[in-house]
């Protein structure tokens, strides 16, 4: 978003001073209520578990200029990610000037390059809303579809090398014309999915939800009058912009740079740098991703709308969690990424598994912000989408996908959280009892990994280990995961968390550690155990400053080993198991002396990566 846009916004918002803050709140709540209602309709009417049960969808209202006003319960990666499609209808984007829009139309798209999407399974629908013959806004929704074709079931693999392997590309076209479903388009989409019946239900649910949002918005206009609603919408945008500005003003002026690393993409052998320079000038914030690695050969690329959603998440979490997620916030952030990099890929670079790179973008932004405002930012989190997929032949062919959580980074005054999803995702796991009933698999262990959280004054969150035993022949394991090469970083002298790892047949003669997080088609036999271990998280502050009592409890709870207690934390226990104060002080003194002669850690560290 250019500075010109920001200036135009400011000029625009000065025109509306006619509505009182109370009406703004009341109308804001009414808009949110509409978004929630149409979200409920979408979930109830859809077919697929992913939308219905996991609520992998978002609904929103936009104003006539295409700015997001209200979005219901969102997944961070969906934040503002309908704006790309809406923007192509509301104007200002070359090539879309002459789209014909009539009342009762609903548009569909999923294309990351031509439609403003983030990856193909996320299908967006937009209903332009008319009132007294004019377009007054847009009702939009986005939903993650379980299959839109492409070279693997689920249309979401990490190893595609071009967008054309990832599924059907739907440009911005009408799925409903003047209230009638355009059957030609619908049939076209359905034929390209492995699960057409499910798609049929989900798509109809999306289009009726979008249309209902329009009806409700018109009702709101009729109740309050166009001027009041529009003035309130603008006031809501202004409010978000002011909140962001106030939060940014708290950050000292300056430029802050940081680089974190994505594991090698599987084709290339080198870790991929994700670099950001954040420039704060008064209340203005700009993020420049210059220095980021070039476009990847596999599906970890991040298109514009995915990058924006990620930046919005990171700023909201890092600066002020209460900033409303609306256009006033989004339009006030300046984001640049050089073309041809992993954060500004060119069509048809593959994008399906964009989330790993998005997670690393958050880490880089947090790393930079930590230099400016260390008290607000935790140490590095596991920040991996540890996506694993078992398939094989049971009663019938099965596919079991799962995303495993890990540790979250230690905070400046508290430990990190064990075993949680972080940043742009918050998806749940499948219950073990459900998994075993459904697939020929048995979980032998599902537990925290001792010492996986980076040691520190505050300890990083622990990783998860899940051992899965294969019960039938012909099974295969595929995965895309990150943080197996570069670990989650400790801050302010805290140690790194442990990286993730996949191990076949652990503890046997034929044990094999897989070479990285992006693998496909690993053959497994009946009786084999596949061990999936996610990354831990970084610690905060020097381990020798950790409260010895907290260390003792960590040992009693099995969260650290006796080795770590002694060697890393320098804690000595008496025979009765309590902390031996004087002996601990002496042990810590000795460890400090030893580390002074060898260590030079400053935080947050900016380290050189060992080349492979």
């Amino acid at each position: 978003m250019s500075t010109d846009t920001v200036a135009a916004q400011a000029a625009h918002s000065n025109q509306n001073l006619t509505v009182d803050p109370i009406t703004v709140q009341v109308i804001g709540n009414a808009m949110l209520s509409i978004a929630e209602e149409v979200g409920s309709v979408l979930r109830r009417a859809s077919y697929s578990t992913n939308i219905k049960e996991r609520s992998d969808c978002s609904t929103a209202l936009f104003d006539a200029e295409g700015r997001l006003i209200a979005q219901a319960e969102h997944i961070p990666i969906h934040m503002g990610s309908m704006a790309g499609a809406v923007g192509r209808l509301s104007g200002g984007i070359p090539g879309y000037e002459n789209v014909s829009i009539t009342p009762g139309d609903v548009f569909i798209t999923n294309d990351p390059y031509a439609g403003g999407g983030t990856h193909l399974p996320d299908i967006t629908m937009v209903a332009p809303v008319f009132y007294q013959g004019e377009i007054i806004g847009y009702s939009a929704n986005i939903a993650h579809h379980s299959d839109v074709g492409g070279h693997v079931a689920g249309s979401n693999s990490g190893d595609s090398t071009t967008l054309f392997m990832e599924g059907l590309r739907i440009p911005l076209v009408k799925i409903t014309h003047q209230g009638e479903v355009v059957k030609d388009v619908l049939d076209f989409v359905l034929l390209n999915s492995r699960l057409p019946e499910e798609r049929y239900g989900d798509l109809l649910a999306q289009q009726s939800s979008a249309a209902l949002g329009g009806t409700r918005l018109v009702e709101l206009y009729e109740k309050y009058g166009a001027e009041t609603v529009e003035a309130s919408s603008k006031a809501l945008l202004d409010y978000a912009e002011r909140r962001l500005r106030l939060a940014v003003e708290d950050v000292p002026d300056g430029s802050y740079s940081y680089t974190d690393w994505l594991d090698p993409d599987g084709i290339g052998k080198e870790p991929i740098p994700i670099s950001v320079t954040i420039t704060v000038d008064g209340g203005h914030i700009a993020l420049d991703f210059e220095g980021t690695g070039r476009e990847a050969d596999v599906a970890v690329n991040v298109v514009r709308s995915a990058l924006e959603a990620t930046v919005f998440y990171a700023l909201k979490a890092g600066l002020d969690p209460e900033i409303p997620a609306n256009g006033g916030f989004f339009d006030s952030v300046e984001i640049t990424a050089p073309e041809g990099t992993i954060l500004n890929p060119r069509s048809p670079a593959p994008v399906a598994a964009r989330t790993d790179a998005c997670q690393r973008v958050v880490d880089a932004i947090f790393g930079a912000l930590a230099k400016a405002a260390p008290h607000r930012i935790p140490a590095g989190s596991h920040s991996s989408i540890t996506y694993v997929n078992f398939s094989g032949i049971g009663d019938s062919f099965y596919v079991y996908p799962e995303v495993i959580a890990g540790g979250s980074g230690a905070r400046p005054e508290a430990d990190g959280l064990d075993a949680v999803q972080v940043h742009i995702t918050n998806s749940s796991n499948l219950p073990i009892e459900a998994l075993e009933a459904e697939y020929p698999l048995r979980v032998e262990a599902y537990e925290l990994v001792p010492d996986s959280g980076g040691a520190g004054t505050y300890r990083g969150g622990l990783a998860i280990r899940r051992d899965i035993r294969i019960l039938g022949e012909g099974a295969e394991f595929s995965a895309h995961a990150d943080r197996q090469t570069s670990p989650p970083e400790g801050y302010a002298g805290g140690q790194d968390g442990t990286p993730g790892r996949f191990t076949v047949r652990p503890g046997t003669d034929t044990e094999q550690v897989l070479p990285g997080g992006r693998v496909s088609g690993v053959a497994l036999h009946s009786g084999d155990i596949m061990r999936v271990q996610s990354p831990g998280a970084g610690g905060y502050g020097l381990p020798l400053n950790r409260d010895p009592e907290a260390v003792r409890l960590d040992l009693a709870d099995g969260k650290i080993t006796a080795d770590a207690l002694k060697e890393t934390y320098g804690v000595v226990l008496s025979a009765d198991g309590t902390v031996d104060g004087p002996a601990t002080a002496a042990a810590r003194e000795a460890l400090r002396a030893r580390s002074h002669s060898t260590d030079r850690s400053t935080a947050p560290k900016q380290r050189m990566r060992r080349k492979q």
């Binding site: 409920s40 998440y313 459900a434 925290l448």
Partner: protein, 679 residues
């Protein structure tokens, strides 16, 4: 005489309904250290005042917050947990979600059992309940040593797949009870025998955590009631609205955890049904929050899982949606200039500024008082008067921030609070696929009737009901509810493979229901059992209920049951898959002792004169439409058939009703105010 007693944080409410259908109401301060003391004292005083004897009490229904408070305050028993080897961290991992999407400084709720008190047993069942590894003697010896080394008061046992076969859990739990007879022992196959290990384990551990305290409470309650000579043995309400004996509660105290709001919903459903409204949204506005719940065809909607402060509880409970807006909600202008109301609350201390206990921030109640909607001259106990000056001072801060006058600021606070509540009312209806405009709103709780008409107007609801005693509706709910429980078993059986497996589970549950009837002393002729199959299409992740009646089922019933499932699926989700395979996930039995619904006596109509006779005074009240010299009516002087036109305020001891200009209220034969909302 049927009596209901609701124990609240500050007051204990007693409502009694005598054989003639007359209500007798009492209110005394609660006794937090032993809730049963106020309960028995209150019952005794209502009996005395109404000229009844303890021997006249045929039914004593009671709602207790002992378990709820124990969990909220985290002061339950030191608890140990015994699990299947390899699964120590089921609770810590949970569903692996973080507690706040954006706030990096929010912690997960602390697991109730520290990891060092979680012990593993090397046993294992497969998903069909077949043993893969039996419980071995060495492990038991080690477990005994480990537990002996701890000083826990409660021990929970939860093994994988125990919902299919409880044998391993039973062996271990019985051993533990034998080793440590003074410790409270509970197992998941008794507490929540449902599949999904995290939810089952969480529920079982909470049961252990609150168990010993609940046990002590219930013993005191029974003793006190008996020594006061109360004829009926007390019944306690569960989260699903069913009443059970103290004995059942000692086994599963976790079933009371969310019972607080359920009694009010039942009372509201009963009042509404009497007045001819069976599809309503209940609206209970208290000091810190507002609870709303959808009632369809006279029955409160129920959900099978809730979480309380982040702790997941898998027991059926009335499906209440809570929003952080109540009388004590704080209004504040943030630094970016927005007026926020709630979710922060001034609570009981310091409370609203007008209460003169040091409240420094404007609350919804302060706004209601300054606008004259609540009587500014009312006494607030001990002869104290409201501190209007304090209320003005705090509301001035808001008006300064808004650049408006004091009235506009106070009105603004109410409008923002109302818009939060309107959103909640819409949510509970649209989430169920209902249009709120087709429903009525029934308002209760101290503050509900002050806000209900404006909230209804905002949502587009045409009818608002105000029950005769809005402040004590929970106690009423406790006396009209029936003895009832639900017992559930997960089975995950394919319905296409025939009904034999399902039939076996039904028969098991029938036996369980039978033992329950005996424990509750339900006479033979009054035992009602209703079975429900919770079914889904294969590979779906969610279940829908199909009622199959009280008898057994046969192969010849399959087509009928399948069709019933397809129909409920279509009704709920808008489509059906006739070709898909069906799975029976759970079988549930509802065992109850139906009561013939007690009836209230009707309110006489006015023999002569007009509604003006109920008018006690006038004062200036400010509505959104403007200020008006407004008649104040005394609720107890109203008679059936009276019609009141807004603007009006109707006052009674436990609540105040605000009727803005343009709306009309009619008093029906049960004394309920039926407000016709002018949209």
């Amino acid at each position: 005489m049927r009596i209901g007693v609701d124990v609240g944080g500050t007051f204990t409410d007693i409502t009694a309904l005598d054989a003639q259908g007359n209500f007798h109401i009492g209110k005394i301060p609660s006794t937090p250290t032993d809730q049963s003391q106020a309960l028995v004292d209150g019952v005794t005083s209502v009996l005395t005042k109404s000229g009844h004897q303890p021997g006249d009490v045929s039914y004593l229904g009671h709602g207790t917050t002992v378990a709820t408070n124990t969990l909220l305050e985290l002061n339950g028993s030191s608890t140990a947990l015994v699990v299947t080897k390899g699964f120590k961290d089921v609770l810590e991992i949970g569903r692996q979600k973080r507690p706040s999407l954006y706030d990096l400084f929010v912690d997960k709720p602390q697991v109730l059992v520290p990891r060092r008190l979680i012990f593993e047993v090397d046993e294992r069942l497969d998903f069909q309940g077949n043993p893969l590894r039996a419980v071995n003697a060495d492990d038991l010896n080690q477990l005994r040593k480990n537990l002996a080394d701890t000083d826990v008061d409660a021990i929970a046992v939860c093994f994988l797949h125990s919902y299919r076969d409880a044998t391993h859990e039973q062996i271990v739990a019985e051993k533990i009870a034998e080793w440590f007879p003074d410790r409270y022992v509970t197992r998941s196959s008794v507490v929540a025998p449902e599949f999904r290990e995290y939810e089952r384990m969480s529920t079982t551990v909470i049961n252990a955590f609150v168990g010993p305290r609940m046990h002590r409470y219930v013993s005191r309650l029974e003793n006190r009631a008996a020594s006061a000579g109360v004829a009926a043995s007390p019944k306690i309400i569960q989260s699903n609205g069913g009443m059970v004996s103290p004995t059942s509660i000692v086994t599963r105290p976790v079933t009371t955890l969310l019972s607080g709001p359920s009694a009010g919903v039942l009372g509201a459903a009963w009042v509404s049904a009497a007045s001819g409204y069976k599809d309503v949204i209940t609206f209970d506005m208290g000091g810190t929050s507002t609870d709303v719940c959808l009632v369809r065809d006279g029955e409160a909607t129920v959900t099978s899982e809730r979480s309380i402060d982040g702790y997941v509880v898998r027991t059926p409970s009335v499906n209440v949606h809570t929003v952080g807006a109540g009388g004590g909600s704080i209004a504040k202008i943030d630094e970016a200039g927005a007026l926020n109301v709630g979710p922060r609350s001034a609570g009981a201390v310091p409370g609203p500024a007008a209460y003169g206990k040091g409240g420094q921030e404007a609350t919804v109640t302060d706004a209601n008082i300054l606008l004259g909607r609540q009587n500014p001259d009312q006494a607030i106990g001990d002869g104290l008067r409201l501190d209007l000056e304090a209320a003005e001072t705090v509301v001035k801060k808001i008006s300064a921030g808004l650049g408006s006058d004091q009235q506009q600021a106070a009105l603004g606070v109410l409008r923002v609070a109302n818009s939060h509540m309107a959103r909640a009312v819409r949510k509970v209806s649209v989430d169920n696929g209902d249009d709120p405009r087709d429903l009525a709103l029934i308002a209760y709780g101290g503050a509900g009737p002050l806000h209900a008409v404006e909230v209804a107007k905002e949502v587009g609801i045409r009818t608002v009901l105000i029950p005769p005693h809005p402040g004590t509706l929970c106690a009423l709910g406790l006396l009209v509810s029936e003895v009832r429980t639900e017992i559930l078993r997960s089975c995950l059986l394919s319905f296409s493979d025939g009904v034999t497996g399902v039939r076996e589970v039904i028969e098991e549950l029938r036996e369980a229901a039978q033992s329950w009837f005996e424990a509750e002393n339900v006479p033979q002729g009054q035992q009602l059992t209703q079975f429900t199959l919770e079914m889904r299409y294969k590979r779906q992740n969610f279940e829908l209920p199909v009622e199959v009646g009280g008898g057994t089922i046969n192969e010849s019933d399959t087509a009928r049951i399948a069709e019933a499932f397809h129909e409920v699926h279509e009704k709920t989700y808008g489509f059906r898959h006739d070709e898909s395979e069906l799975t029976v996930v759970n079988v549930k039995v509802v065992a109850s002792q139906p009561v013939s619904a007690p009836r209230a006596a009707s309110l006489p109509s006015r023999e002569s004169g007009a509604v003006a006779e109920a008018e006690t005074s006038r004062r200036e009240v400010v509505f959104v439409e403007g200020a008006a010299e407004t008649p104040i009516y005394a609720r107890d002087l109203l008679r059936a058939g009276d019609v009141i036109h807004g603007p009006a305020v109707i006052e009674q001891e436990d609540s105040t009703t605000s009727l803005p200009p343009g709306h009309r209220a009619v008093v029906d034969t049960y004394g309920t105010l039926i407000v016709e909302v002018n949209l």
